[in-house]
Point group: C2
Chain length 301, copies 2
Protein backbone atom coordinates (compact mmCIF):
# COMPACT_ATOMS: atom_id res chain seq x y z
CA UNK A 1 0.00 0.00 0.00
CA UNK A 2 2.87 2.33 0.66
CA UNK A 3 3.47 3.02 -3.00
CA UNK A 4 -0.06 4.35 -3.24
CA UNK A 5 -0.04 6.44 -0.13
CA UNK A 6 3.29 8.02 -0.76
CA UNK A 7 1.99 9.78 -3.77
CA UNK A 8 -1.21 10.89 -2.16
CA UNK A 9 0.65 12.51 0.64
CA UNK A 10 3.01 14.29 -1.66
CA UNK A 11 0.43 15.72 -4.01
CA UNK A 12 -1.65 16.82 -1.05
CA UNK A 13 -4.74 15.21 -2.50
CA UNK A 14 -5.90 17.97 -4.68
CA UNK A 15 -5.10 17.37 -8.30
CA UNK A 16 -4.31 13.76 -8.90
CA UNK A 17 -6.07 10.68 -10.07
CA UNK A 18 -4.26 7.47 -9.45
CA UNK A 19 -4.50 4.35 -11.47
CA UNK A 20 -3.00 1.37 -9.75
CA UNK A 21 -2.53 -2.14 -11.02
CA UNK A 22 -2.05 -4.60 -8.23
CA UNK A 23 -3.43 -7.72 -6.67
CA UNK A 24 -6.80 -6.96 -5.16
CA UNK A 25 -9.74 -9.12 -4.29
CA UNK A 26 -12.18 -8.77 -7.14
CA UNK A 27 -15.67 -9.79 -6.21
CA UNK A 28 -17.65 -8.47 -9.13
CA UNK A 29 -15.10 -8.93 -11.86
CA UNK A 30 -17.37 -10.47 -14.48
CA UNK A 31 -20.82 -9.05 -13.81
CA UNK A 32 -21.13 -5.47 -14.99
CA UNK A 33 -24.70 -5.31 -13.63
CA UNK A 34 -23.61 -6.19 -10.11
CA UNK A 35 -23.88 -3.43 -7.62
CA UNK A 36 -20.60 -2.48 -5.94
CA UNK A 37 -20.20 -2.87 -2.21
CA UNK A 38 -20.47 0.66 -0.87
CA UNK A 39 -17.76 1.33 1.70
CA UNK A 40 -19.37 3.02 4.69
CA UNK A 41 -16.95 5.73 5.81
CA UNK A 42 -19.27 7.01 8.55
CA UNK A 43 -19.55 3.61 10.20
CA UNK A 44 -15.80 3.01 10.01
CA UNK A 45 -15.07 6.52 11.34
CA UNK A 46 -17.48 6.01 14.24
CA UNK A 47 -15.80 2.77 15.14
CA UNK A 48 -12.36 4.44 15.16
CA UNK A 49 -13.71 7.33 17.23
CA UNK A 50 -15.26 4.92 19.74
CA UNK A 51 -11.86 3.29 20.22
CA UNK A 52 -10.19 6.70 20.59
CA UNK A 53 -12.77 7.73 23.20
CA UNK A 54 -11.89 4.67 25.26
CA UNK A 55 -8.18 5.34 24.82
CA UNK A 56 -8.48 9.01 25.83
CA UNK A 57 -10.51 8.12 28.94
CA UNK A 58 -7.66 5.88 30.09
CA UNK A 59 -4.90 8.47 29.56
CA UNK A 60 -3.13 9.78 32.62
CA UNK A 61 -2.72 13.53 33.11
CA UNK A 62 -4.45 16.13 30.98
CA UNK A 63 -6.62 15.38 27.98
CA UNK A 64 -5.01 15.84 24.53
CA UNK A 65 -5.43 19.42 23.32
CA UNK A 66 -6.11 20.32 19.66
CA UNK A 67 -5.84 23.95 18.56
CA UNK A 68 -7.06 24.89 15.11
CA UNK A 69 -6.37 28.14 13.30
CA UNK A 70 -8.83 29.54 10.77
CA UNK A 71 -7.87 32.52 8.61
CA UNK A 72 -10.65 34.47 6.89
CA UNK A 73 -14.34 33.85 6.55
CA UNK A 74 -14.57 31.08 3.95
CA UNK A 75 -17.90 29.40 4.65
CA UNK A 76 -16.79 25.86 3.83
CA UNK A 77 -13.68 26.15 6.01
CA UNK A 78 -15.90 27.20 8.91
CA UNK A 79 -18.13 24.16 8.33
CA UNK A 80 -15.11 21.84 8.28
CA UNK A 81 -13.58 23.32 11.42
CA UNK A 82 -16.90 23.05 13.28
CA UNK A 83 -17.22 19.41 12.28
CA UNK A 84 -13.65 18.61 13.35
CA UNK A 85 -14.09 20.33 16.70
CA UNK A 86 -17.36 18.53 17.43
CA UNK A 87 -15.82 15.16 16.62
CA UNK A 88 -12.78 15.99 18.77
CA UNK A 89 -14.92 16.95 21.76
CA UNK A 90 -16.96 13.78 21.38
CA UNK A 91 -13.87 11.61 21.91
CA UNK A 92 -12.68 13.69 24.87
CA UNK A 93 -10.10 15.88 23.14
CA UNK A 94 -9.91 19.42 24.47
CA UNK A 95 -10.30 21.98 21.67
CA UNK A 96 -9.69 25.61 20.84
CA UNK A 97 -10.12 27.54 17.59
CA UNK A 98 -8.29 30.77 16.84
CA UNK A 99 -9.97 32.96 14.23
CA UNK A 100 -7.82 35.42 12.25
CA UNK A 101 -8.86 38.13 9.80
CA UNK A 102 -8.41 37.44 6.08
CA UNK A 103 -5.93 40.34 6.05
CA UNK A 104 -3.65 38.65 8.60
CA UNK A 105 -0.04 38.68 7.39
CA UNK A 106 2.12 35.61 6.89
CA UNK A 107 4.48 36.95 9.55
CA UNK A 108 1.66 37.25 12.13
CA UNK A 109 0.49 33.72 11.40
CA UNK A 110 4.07 32.41 11.74
CA UNK A 111 4.41 34.23 15.10
CA UNK A 112 1.17 32.72 16.35
CA UNK A 113 2.33 29.24 15.33
CA UNK A 114 5.70 29.78 17.01
CA UNK A 115 3.94 30.52 20.27
CA UNK A 116 1.59 27.54 19.89
CA UNK A 117 4.63 25.34 19.17
CA UNK A 118 6.10 26.47 22.50
CA UNK A 119 2.87 26.16 24.47
CA UNK A 120 3.03 22.96 26.53
CA UNK A 121 -0.75 22.98 26.87
CA UNK A 122 -1.18 22.58 23.10
CA UNK A 123 -0.55 19.05 21.78
CA UNK A 124 -1.86 19.40 18.26
CA UNK A 125 -2.04 22.26 15.76
CA UNK A 126 -4.09 22.38 12.58
CA UNK A 127 -4.22 25.36 10.22
CA UNK A 128 -7.28 25.01 8.02
CA UNK A 129 -6.38 25.15 4.31
CA UNK A 130 -6.71 26.84 1.88
CA UNK A 131 -5.10 30.06 3.11
CA UNK A 132 -5.49 33.51 1.48
CA UNK A 133 -3.21 33.94 -1.56
CA UNK A 134 -0.81 36.29 0.20
CA UNK A 135 0.21 33.54 2.64
CA UNK A 136 2.45 30.69 1.47
CA UNK A 137 0.86 27.42 2.56
CA UNK A 138 4.18 25.53 2.35
CA UNK A 139 5.82 28.03 4.74
CA UNK A 140 2.94 27.67 7.18
CA UNK A 141 2.89 23.86 7.04
CA UNK A 142 6.63 23.81 7.70
CA UNK A 143 6.30 26.22 10.64
CA UNK A 144 4.15 23.87 12.70
CA UNK A 145 6.31 21.76 15.04
CA UNK A 146 6.58 18.25 13.55
CA UNK A 147 5.34 16.61 16.77
CA UNK A 148 2.21 18.81 16.78
CA UNK A 149 1.58 18.69 13.01
CA UNK A 150 -1.59 16.57 13.02
CA UNK A 151 -2.36 17.30 9.36
CA UNK A 152 0.99 15.66 8.51
CA UNK A 153 1.92 18.37 5.98
CA UNK A 154 5.27 19.50 7.45
CA UNK A 155 8.10 18.35 5.15
CA UNK A 156 9.51 16.47 8.15
CA UNK A 157 6.42 14.26 8.43
CA UNK A 158 6.01 14.01 4.64
CA UNK A 159 9.59 12.75 4.28
CA UNK A 160 9.16 10.15 7.00
CA UNK A 161 5.79 9.16 5.53
CA UNK A 162 7.32 8.75 2.07
CA UNK A 163 9.95 6.42 3.55
CA UNK A 164 7.39 4.43 5.56
CA UNK A 165 8.77 5.70 8.89
CA UNK A 166 6.80 6.42 12.06
CA UNK A 167 5.42 9.96 11.95
CA UNK A 168 2.22 11.98 11.94
CA UNK A 169 1.07 10.88 8.48
CA UNK A 170 -1.29 12.93 6.29
CA UNK A 171 -4.89 12.27 7.42
CA UNK A 172 -6.42 11.77 3.99
CA UNK A 173 -3.78 9.27 2.96
CA UNK A 174 -4.39 7.36 6.20
CA UNK A 175 -8.14 7.47 5.52
CA UNK A 176 -7.73 6.10 2.00
CA UNK A 177 -5.41 3.36 3.23
CA UNK A 178 -7.84 2.31 5.93
CA UNK A 179 -10.82 2.28 3.56
CA UNK A 180 -8.99 0.08 1.04
CA UNK A 181 -7.82 -2.40 3.62
CA UNK A 182 -11.34 -2.50 5.11
CA UNK A 183 -12.47 -4.17 1.86
CA UNK A 184 -10.06 -7.04 2.41
CA UNK A 185 -7.72 -5.66 -0.24
CA UNK A 186 -4.14 -5.31 0.82
CA UNK A 187 -2.15 -3.76 -1.99
CA UNK A 188 1.44 -3.95 -0.86
CA UNK A 189 4.71 -2.88 -2.37
CA UNK A 190 3.64 -4.89 -5.40
CA UNK A 191 1.36 -2.11 -6.65
CA UNK A 192 2.36 -0.59 -9.98
CA UNK A 193 1.37 3.04 -9.54
CA UNK A 194 0.54 5.74 -12.07
CA UNK A 195 -0.05 9.36 -11.13
CA UNK A 196 -2.33 11.29 -13.48
CA UNK A 197 -3.29 14.94 -13.20
CA UNK A 198 -4.69 17.96 -15.02
CA UNK A 199 -2.06 17.66 -17.78
CA UNK A 200 -2.81 14.02 -18.55
CA UNK A 201 -4.70 13.82 -21.88
CA UNK A 202 -8.24 12.51 -21.28
CA UNK A 203 -7.76 9.55 -23.66
CA UNK A 204 -4.62 8.48 -21.82
CA UNK A 205 -6.38 9.03 -18.47
CA UNK A 206 -9.21 6.70 -19.50
CA UNK A 207 -6.92 3.91 -20.62
CA UNK A 208 -4.94 4.16 -17.39
CA UNK A 209 -7.94 4.30 -15.04
CA UNK A 210 -9.53 1.42 -16.96
CA UNK A 211 -6.53 -0.79 -16.17
CA UNK A 212 -6.46 0.01 -12.45
CA UNK A 213 -7.46 -2.48 -9.76
CA UNK A 214 -7.51 0.38 -7.29
CA UNK A 215 -8.52 3.83 -8.48
CA UNK A 216 -8.14 6.84 -6.19
CA UNK A 217 -9.49 10.12 -7.51
CA UNK A 218 -8.74 13.45 -5.84
CA UNK A 219 -9.33 16.10 -8.47
CA UNK A 220 -12.32 18.16 -7.36
CA UNK A 221 -13.85 17.73 -10.84
CA UNK A 222 -17.43 16.53 -10.19
CA UNK A 223 -18.30 13.32 -12.05
CA UNK A 224 -14.93 13.09 -13.82
CA UNK A 225 -14.76 9.32 -13.40
CA UNK A 226 -17.50 7.71 -15.48
CA UNK A 227 -18.34 4.02 -15.59
CA UNK A 228 -16.53 3.59 -18.91
CA UNK A 229 -13.28 4.60 -17.19
CA UNK A 230 -13.47 1.94 -14.48
CA UNK A 231 -12.28 -1.66 -14.61
CA UNK A 232 -15.04 -4.11 -13.62
CA UNK A 233 -14.57 -5.12 -9.99
CA UNK A 234 -12.12 -2.32 -9.19
CA UNK A 235 -11.94 -0.66 -5.78
CA UNK A 236 -12.76 3.04 -6.36
CA UNK A 237 -11.93 5.62 -3.67
CA UNK A 238 -13.47 9.05 -4.21
CA UNK A 239 -11.46 11.77 -2.43
CA UNK A 240 -13.03 14.65 -4.36
CA UNK A 241 -15.61 16.85 -2.66
CA UNK A 242 -17.31 19.67 -4.55
CA UNK A 243 -20.14 21.74 -3.08
CA UNK A 244 -22.87 22.53 -5.60
CA UNK A 245 -25.41 25.13 -4.51
CA UNK A 246 -28.84 25.14 -6.11
CA UNK A 247 -30.24 28.64 -5.69
CA UNK A 248 -33.81 27.66 -6.63
CA UNK A 249 -34.02 24.72 -4.24
CA UNK A 250 -31.97 26.62 -1.65
CA UNK A 251 -29.95 23.47 -1.13
CA UNK A 252 -26.25 22.58 -1.25
CA UNK A 253 -25.14 19.15 -2.36
CA UNK A 254 -21.73 17.52 -2.02
CA UNK A 255 -20.57 15.80 -5.19
CA UNK A 256 -17.52 13.59 -5.64
CA UNK A 257 -15.20 13.01 -8.59
CA UNK A 258 -16.96 9.75 -9.39
CA UNK A 259 -20.27 9.31 -11.22
CA UNK A 260 -21.69 7.29 -8.36
CA UNK A 261 -24.74 5.75 -10.05
CA UNK A 262 -22.83 4.65 -13.13
CA UNK A 263 -19.66 3.45 -11.43
CA UNK A 264 -21.54 1.56 -8.70
CA UNK A 265 -22.76 -0.80 -11.45
CA UNK A 266 -19.18 -1.59 -12.51
CA UNK A 267 -16.90 -1.29 -9.50
CA UNK A 268 -16.37 -3.96 -6.86
CA UNK A 269 -16.08 -1.41 -4.07
CA UNK A 270 -16.91 2.29 -4.02
CA UNK A 271 -16.82 5.07 -1.42
CA UNK A 272 -19.77 7.49 -1.46
CA UNK A 273 -19.63 11.30 -1.23
CA UNK A 274 -20.63 12.35 1.35
CA UNK A 275 -20.02 9.54 3.84
CA UNK A 276 -16.78 8.07 2.50
CA UNK A 277 -13.34 9.62 2.74
CA UNK A 278 -14.58 12.83 4.44
CA UNK A 279 -15.61 11.45 7.86
CA UNK A 280 -12.64 9.08 7.79
CA UNK A 281 -10.25 12.00 7.35
CA UNK A 282 -11.72 13.60 10.49
CA UNK A 283 -11.29 10.32 12.38
CA UNK A 284 -7.64 10.18 11.30
CA UNK A 285 -7.09 13.75 12.49
CA UNK A 286 -8.29 12.70 15.93
CA UNK A 287 -6.10 9.59 15.79
CA UNK A 288 -3.10 11.81 14.99
CA UNK A 289 -4.03 14.16 17.85
CA UNK A 290 -3.98 11.31 20.36
CA UNK A 291 -0.72 10.03 18.85
CA UNK A 292 0.84 13.51 19.06
CA UNK A 293 -0.17 13.71 22.72
CA UNK A 294 1.39 10.34 23.47
CA UNK A 295 4.60 11.18 21.61
CA UNK A 296 4.93 14.40 23.63
CA UNK A 297 4.23 12.63 26.92
CA UNK A 298 6.86 10.02 26.04
CA UNK A 299 9.33 12.84 25.41
CA UNK A 300 8.66 14.13 28.93
CA UNK A 301 8.74 10.73 30.65
CA UNK B 1 10.54 17.22 -14.05
CA UNK B 2 9.75 17.13 -10.36
CA UNK B 3 7.26 14.33 -10.70
CA UNK B 4 9.97 12.14 -12.17
CA UNK B 5 12.66 12.94 -9.70
CA UNK B 6 10.49 12.59 -6.67
CA UNK B 7 10.02 8.95 -7.31
CA UNK B 8 13.65 8.28 -8.10
CA UNK B 9 14.73 9.79 -4.85
CA UNK B 10 12.22 7.87 -2.85
CA UNK B 11 12.97 4.47 -4.32
CA UNK B 12 16.68 5.10 -3.87
CA UNK B 13 17.30 4.15 -7.48
CA UNK B 14 17.66 0.48 -7.08
CA UNK B 15 14.58 -1.38 -8.12
CA UNK B 16 12.40 0.75 -10.30
CA UNK B 17 11.78 1.37 -13.94
CA UNK B 18 9.85 4.46 -14.75
CA UNK B 19 7.67 5.03 -17.73
CA UNK B 20 6.75 8.62 -18.25
CA UNK B 21 4.45 10.17 -20.79
CA UNK B 22 5.08 13.84 -21.27
CA UNK B 23 5.97 16.44 -23.79
CA UNK B 24 9.48 15.84 -24.98
CA UNK B 25 11.36 16.84 -28.07
CA UNK B 26 11.28 13.83 -30.33
CA UNK B 27 13.91 13.92 -32.98
CA UNK B 28 13.85 10.38 -34.28
CA UNK B 29 10.20 9.64 -33.86
CA UNK B 30 9.55 8.03 -37.25
CA UNK B 31 12.84 6.46 -38.33
CA UNK B 32 13.51 3.26 -36.43
CA UNK B 33 16.88 2.87 -38.19
CA UNK B 34 18.09 6.23 -36.93
CA UNK B 35 20.81 6.09 -34.38
CA UNK B 36 19.96 7.77 -31.08
CA UNK B 37 21.95 10.74 -29.86
CA UNK B 38 24.19 9.30 -27.19
CA UNK B 39 24.23 11.54 -24.12
CA UNK B 40 27.84 11.98 -23.03
CA UNK B 41 27.81 11.83 -19.23
CA UNK B 42 31.60 12.12 -18.96
CA UNK B 43 31.72 15.34 -20.95
CA UNK B 44 28.83 16.85 -18.99
CA UNK B 45 30.37 15.77 -15.67
CA UNK B 46 33.73 17.28 -16.64
CA UNK B 47 32.07 20.55 -17.49
CA UNK B 48 30.29 20.65 -14.10
CA UNK B 49 33.53 19.76 -12.31
CA UNK B 50 35.40 22.52 -14.15
CA UNK B 51 32.83 25.02 -12.91
CA UNK B 52 33.08 23.65 -9.37
CA UNK B 53 36.87 23.91 -9.47
CA UNK B 54 36.59 27.59 -10.33
CA UNK B 55 33.99 28.12 -7.62
CA UNK B 56 36.08 26.34 -4.95
CA UNK B 57 39.19 28.35 -5.88
CA UNK B 58 37.24 31.55 -5.18
CA UNK B 59 35.88 30.45 -1.80
CA UNK B 60 37.11 32.31 1.26
CA UNK B 61 38.38 30.38 4.26
CA UNK B 62 39.08 26.66 4.25
CA UNK B 63 38.36 24.34 1.36
CA UNK B 64 35.18 22.23 1.58
CA UNK B 65 35.88 18.95 3.37
CA UNK B 66 34.28 15.63 2.36
CA UNK B 67 34.59 12.62 4.67
CA UNK B 68 33.51 9.22 3.39
CA UNK B 69 32.96 6.13 5.49
CA UNK B 70 33.47 2.67 4.03
CA UNK B 71 32.43 -0.42 5.99
CA UNK B 72 33.86 -3.80 4.99
CA UNK B 73 35.97 -4.90 2.04
CA UNK B 74 33.51 -4.97 -0.86
CA UNK B 75 35.67 -4.53 -3.95
CA UNK B 76 33.19 -2.44 -5.93
CA UNK B 77 32.57 -0.08 -3.01
CA UNK B 78 36.32 0.50 -2.78
CA UNK B 79 36.46 1.31 -6.51
CA UNK B 80 33.58 3.77 -6.16
CA UNK B 81 35.07 5.50 -3.13
CA UNK B 82 38.44 5.85 -4.84
CA UNK B 83 36.78 7.39 -7.89
CA UNK B 84 34.77 9.84 -5.79
CA UNK B 85 37.81 10.89 -3.77
CA UNK B 86 39.93 11.44 -6.89
CA UNK B 87 37.22 13.58 -8.48
CA UNK B 88 36.80 15.56 -5.24
CA UNK B 89 40.52 16.29 -4.99
CA UNK B 90 40.60 17.37 -8.63
CA UNK B 91 38.09 20.17 -7.94
CA UNK B 92 39.89 21.26 -4.76
CA UNK B 93 37.75 19.54 -2.15
CA UNK B 94 39.68 18.24 0.85
CA UNK B 95 38.99 14.53 1.44
CA UNK B 96 39.26 11.83 4.05
CA UNK B 97 38.10 8.21 4.03
CA UNK B 98 37.45 6.23 7.20
CA UNK B 99 37.63 2.44 6.77
CA UNK B 100 35.73 0.23 9.21
CA UNK B 101 35.76 -3.55 9.58
CA UNK B 102 32.82 -5.49 8.20
CA UNK B 103 32.08 -6.58 11.79
CA UNK B 104 31.61 -2.97 12.94
CA UNK B 105 28.35 -2.60 14.92
CA UNK B 106 25.54 -0.23 14.03
CA UNK B 107 26.10 1.53 17.34
CA UNK B 108 29.78 2.14 16.57
CA UNK B 109 28.92 3.54 13.14
CA UNK B 110 26.28 5.81 14.67
CA UNK B 111 28.82 7.05 17.26
CA UNK B 112 31.33 7.81 14.51
CA UNK B 113 28.70 9.73 12.54
CA UNK B 114 27.67 11.67 15.66
CA UNK B 115 31.25 12.85 16.08
CA UNK B 116 31.59 13.72 12.38
CA UNK B 117 28.30 15.65 12.62
CA UNK B 118 29.85 17.71 15.44
CA UNK B 119 33.23 18.18 13.77
CA UNK B 120 33.38 21.72 12.35
CA UNK B 121 36.19 20.66 10.01
CA UNK B 122 33.90 18.20 8.23
CA UNK B 123 31.43 19.77 5.79
CA UNK B 124 30.14 16.69 4.02
CA UNK B 125 29.61 13.06 5.05
CA UNK B 126 29.00 10.11 2.77
CA UNK B 127 28.56 6.53 3.96
CA UNK B 128 29.12 4.20 1.02
CA UNK B 129 26.15 1.87 0.51
CA UNK B 130 25.39 -1.01 0.66
CA UNK B 131 26.16 -1.70 4.31
CA UNK B 132 26.51 -5.17 5.89
CA UNK B 133 23.14 -6.77 6.66
CA UNK B 134 23.43 -6.27 10.42
CA UNK B 135 23.39 -2.48 9.99
CA UNK B 136 20.13 -0.68 9.10
CA UNK B 137 20.82 1.66 6.17
CA UNK B 138 17.79 3.83 6.96
CA UNK B 139 19.04 4.41 10.51
CA UNK B 140 22.48 5.35 9.20
CA UNK B 141 21.13 7.69 6.50
CA UNK B 142 18.99 9.43 9.12
CA UNK B 143 21.92 9.79 11.53
CA UNK B 144 23.94 12.00 9.17
CA UNK B 145 23.29 15.69 9.90
CA UNK B 146 20.94 17.03 7.17
CA UNK B 147 23.33 19.88 6.31
CA UNK B 148 26.22 17.42 5.79
CA UNK B 149 24.16 14.68 4.07
CA UNK B 150 25.61 14.99 0.54
CA UNK B 151 24.01 11.75 -0.65
CA UNK B 152 20.63 13.33 0.13
CA UNK B 153 19.26 10.18 1.77
CA UNK B 154 18.32 11.58 5.20
CA UNK B 155 14.50 11.69 5.50
CA UNK B 156 14.84 15.42 6.10
CA UNK B 157 16.39 16.00 2.66
CA UNK B 158 14.14 13.42 0.99
CA UNK B 159 11.04 15.18 2.33
CA UNK B 160 12.22 18.58 1.14
CA UNK B 161 13.23 17.08 -2.21
CA UNK B 162 9.80 15.48 -2.64
CA UNK B 163 8.18 18.88 -2.04
CA UNK B 164 10.57 20.69 -4.42
CA UNK B 165 12.20 22.62 -1.57
CA UNK B 166 15.85 23.67 -1.31
CA UNK B 167 17.91 20.86 0.20
CA UNK B 168 20.77 18.48 -0.49
CA UNK B 169 18.96 16.42 -3.12
CA UNK B 170 19.84 12.81 -3.95
CA UNK B 171 22.79 12.79 -6.39
CA UNK B 172 21.47 10.23 -8.84
CA UNK B 173 18.16 12.02 -9.18
CA UNK B 174 20.03 15.28 -9.84
CA UNK B 175 22.19 13.48 -12.42
CA UNK B 176 19.17 12.08 -14.25
CA UNK B 177 17.45 15.45 -14.21
CA UNK B 178 20.52 17.19 -15.65
CA UNK B 179 21.01 14.57 -18.38
CA UNK B 180 17.39 14.85 -19.52
CA UNK B 181 17.42 18.64 -19.62
CA UNK B 182 20.76 18.54 -21.48
CA UNK B 183 18.88 16.98 -24.43
CA UNK B 184 16.59 19.99 -24.66
CA UNK B 185 13.75 18.06 -23.07
CA UNK B 186 12.12 19.77 -20.14
CA UNK B 187 9.48 17.50 -18.71
CA UNK B 188 7.68 19.60 -16.12
CA UNK B 189 4.85 18.97 -13.76
CA UNK B 190 2.90 17.83 -16.82
CA UNK B 191 4.60 14.42 -16.80
CA UNK B 192 2.26 11.49 -16.20
CA UNK B 193 4.43 9.14 -14.21
CA UNK B 194 4.28 5.38 -13.71
CA UNK B 195 6.51 3.51 -11.29
CA UNK B 196 7.21 -0.12 -12.20
CA UNK B 197 9.27 -2.59 -10.21
CA UNK B 198 10.07 -6.24 -9.64
CA UNK B 199 6.41 -7.06 -9.03
CA UNK B 200 5.17 -5.52 -12.27
CA UNK B 201 4.26 -8.33 -14.72
CA UNK B 202 6.62 -8.28 -17.73
CA UNK B 203 3.76 -7.86 -20.22
CA UNK B 204 2.44 -4.84 -18.33
CA UNK B 205 5.97 -3.48 -18.01
CA UNK B 206 6.47 -3.65 -21.78
CA UNK B 207 3.25 -1.86 -22.58
CA UNK B 208 4.05 0.88 -20.08
CA UNK B 209 7.68 1.41 -21.16
CA UNK B 210 6.56 1.38 -24.80
CA UNK B 211 4.27 4.36 -24.13
CA UNK B 212 6.91 6.45 -22.33
CA UNK B 213 8.47 9.58 -23.80
CA UNK B 214 11.08 9.41 -21.06
CA UNK B 215 12.15 6.04 -19.72
CA UNK B 216 14.38 5.82 -16.66
CA UNK B 217 15.56 2.35 -15.70
CA UNK B 218 17.26 1.64 -12.39
CA UNK B 219 16.85 -2.09 -11.80
CA UNK B 220 20.31 -3.66 -11.98
CA UNK B 221 18.96 -6.29 -14.37
CA UNK B 222 21.43 -6.29 -17.31
CA UNK B 223 19.75 -5.80 -20.69
CA UNK B 224 16.22 -5.73 -19.22
CA UNK B 225 15.09 -2.97 -21.58
CA UNK B 226 15.09 -4.30 -25.15
CA UNK B 227 14.36 -2.29 -28.28
CA UNK B 228 10.83 -3.71 -28.47
CA UNK B 229 10.07 -2.08 -25.11
CA UNK B 230 11.02 1.43 -26.18
CA UNK B 231 8.93 4.07 -27.94
CA UNK B 232 10.62 5.40 -31.09
CA UNK B 233 12.30 8.71 -30.33
CA UNK B 234 12.11 8.30 -26.54
CA UNK B 235 14.74 9.63 -24.16
CA UNK B 236 16.17 6.59 -22.32
CA UNK B 237 18.21 7.05 -19.15
CA UNK B 238 20.06 3.97 -17.95
CA UNK B 239 20.77 4.12 -14.21
CA UNK B 240 21.55 0.41 -13.87
CA UNK B 241 25.17 -0.69 -13.47
CA UNK B 242 26.06 -4.38 -13.24
CA UNK B 243 29.63 -5.64 -13.17
CA UNK B 244 30.14 -8.81 -15.21
CA UNK B 245 33.43 -10.56 -14.71
CA UNK B 246 34.75 -12.84 -17.45
CA UNK B 247 37.16 -15.27 -15.79
CA UNK B 248 38.65 -16.48 -19.08
CA UNK B 249 39.36 -13.04 -20.45
CA UNK B 250 40.27 -11.77 -16.99
CA UNK B 251 38.17 -8.71 -17.69
CA UNK B 252 35.28 -6.98 -15.94
CA UNK B 253 32.64 -5.16 -17.95
CA UNK B 254 29.98 -2.74 -16.76
CA UNK B 255 26.56 -3.43 -18.23
CA UNK B 256 23.44 -1.30 -17.93
CA UNK B 257 19.75 -2.17 -17.77
CA UNK B 258 19.34 -1.22 -21.42
CA UNK B 259 20.28 -3.33 -24.47
CA UNK B 260 22.42 -0.53 -25.83
CA UNK B 261 22.88 -1.74 -29.42
CA UNK B 262 19.22 -2.52 -29.95
CA UNK B 263 17.75 0.49 -28.17
CA UNK B 264 20.16 2.96 -29.80
CA UNK B 265 18.43 2.17 -33.12
CA UNK B 266 15.03 3.15 -31.68
CA UNK B 267 15.52 5.82 -29.01
CA UNK B 268 15.95 9.52 -29.65
CA UNK B 269 18.43 9.91 -26.79
CA UNK B 270 20.26 7.29 -24.77
CA UNK B 271 22.81 7.31 -21.95
CA UNK B 272 25.61 4.73 -22.21
CA UNK B 273 26.97 2.48 -19.43
CA UNK B 274 29.67 3.26 -18.53
CA UNK B 275 29.92 6.98 -19.25
CA UNK B 276 26.35 8.10 -18.60
CA UNK B 277 24.66 8.44 -15.22
CA UNK B 278 27.70 7.12 -13.26
CA UNK B 279 30.14 10.01 -13.75
CA UNK B 280 27.28 12.50 -13.48
CA UNK B 281 26.33 11.12 -10.07
CA UNK B 282 29.90 11.75 -8.89
CA UNK B 283 29.74 15.31 -10.26
CA UNK B 284 26.50 15.89 -8.34
CA UNK B 285 28.10 14.58 -5.14
CA UNK B 286 30.78 17.24 -5.52
CA UNK B 287 28.16 19.87 -6.28
CA UNK B 288 26.33 18.91 -3.07
CA UNK B 289 29.61 19.05 -1.12
CA UNK B 290 30.23 22.63 -2.22
CA UNK B 291 26.60 23.50 -1.49
CA UNK B 292 26.85 21.93 1.98
CA UNK B 293 29.97 23.98 2.66
CA UNK B 294 28.26 27.20 1.61
CA UNK B 295 25.14 26.44 3.67
CA UNK B 296 27.30 25.85 6.75
CA UNK B 297 29.31 29.04 6.17
CA UNK B 298 26.06 30.98 5.78
CA UNK B 299 24.91 29.54 9.12
CA UNK B 300 28.07 30.90 10.73
CA UNK B 301 27.95 34.29 9.02
Amino acid sequence: MRAVLKVIGLTENITSTQAISCKHRQIHSSHSRCKASIIDGVKRANSIQDELKKEVSLLEGNRPQLTTVLVGDDYVSHVYIKRKMMAAKAVGISTNTIYLENSCSERDLVSLLDSLNQDVNVNAILVQLPLPNHICERTICNTIAPLKDVDGFNFFNMGRFALGMNALWPCTAMAVHDLITSTGGSPGMDATTTICHRHTPLSLLSSLTKSADILISATGVPGLISSSMVKPGACVIDVGITRIHNEELKETRLIGDVDFDGVSKIAGFLTPVPGGVGPMTVAMLLKNTVLAYKLQMRGKG
